[in-house]
């Protein structure tokens, strides 16, 4: 059975709200994290292959794009980790009240930037 109808969870027809935006961001960051950890595995492989190969990585790491990507991965890890804690409270049955859910979402969003900042300055 083929159809052109949008697939669940119908992203195209939802009215955008904070709760749905944060939820889809959780999934997006999961895919970014997979890319990030794969990139990190590549870094390990380049290190393993020796100084000559690793020097190509070092050139990349010094570029603006390189730094932007690393800080981006840090934020993605931070967000997914913090929102994961929020999910665990839901799994235990807490935090479903609309006001609480919105507030915890805003807290997670703010903390994700603070955590990224702390990780890079400490």
């Amino acid at each position: 059975m083929k159809s052109e109808r949008p697939l669940s969870p119908h992203l195209q027809v939802y009215k955008w709200q904070l709760s749905s935006l944060l939820s889809i961001t959780h999934r997006l960051t999961s895919i970014i994290n997979l890319t990030g950890i794969t990139f990190f595995a590549l870094w390990i492989c380049m290190l393993f292959l020796g100084e000559n190969i690793f020097s190509y990585y070092e050139i990349f790491a010094k570029t603006f794009i390189g730094k932007f990507i690393f800080i981006g991965f840090s934020w993605s890890f931070s967000y997914h980790l913090l929102n994961g804690i929020r999910h665990m409270f839901w799994d235990m049955g807490y935090g479903y009240d609309l006001k609480v859910a919105n507030l915890s979402g805003i807290i997670v969003l703010i903390l994700s930037f603070i955590l990224t900042f702390l990780a890079w300055i400490i």
């Binding site: 999961s30 950890i37 595995a41 690393f70 804690i85």
Partner: protein, 109 residues
């Protein structure tokens, strides 16, 4: 416990175990990514670092495989494509940790 419930639980257990490890990783990541060759080699001289990173690779890819399964369940409605996508994820969730952990162990010998 049925299969779906046990997957759900396993993913949460992996997440809880990953939590302290990833906070450790997050505060080392900025150093690692800007390390020189010698700094990076020295990092793996410490076997605790290799052990923590190995655990992260195993748990993260285990957690990821279940999570990706959920995403495929929601967005891929063609059974054959879903099966192929799941097989691909299973493959990388074995190969990537295996290669990374083997390389780290040799580096820390």
């Amino acid at each position: 416990m049925n299969n779906v419930v046990s997957k759900w639980l396993m993913q949460r257990i992996a997440a809880v175990l990953l939590l302290p490890l990833l906070i450790w990783f997050l505060f080392n990541y900025d150093d690692l990514m800007t390390f020189s060759y010698l700094d990076a080699i020295n990092f793996f001289d410490n076997k605790v670092n290799t052990a923590f990173l190995s655990l992260i690779f195993i748990l993260a890819f285990f957690h990821m495989r279940i999570g990706m399964g959920e995403i495929f369940e929601d967005y891929i409605h063609n059974a054959a494509i879903k099966k192929a996508a799941s097989a691909f994820i299973l493959l990388i969730s074995i190969i990537i940790p295996l290669v990374a952990i083997t390389a780290m162990i040799i580096l820390s010998l």
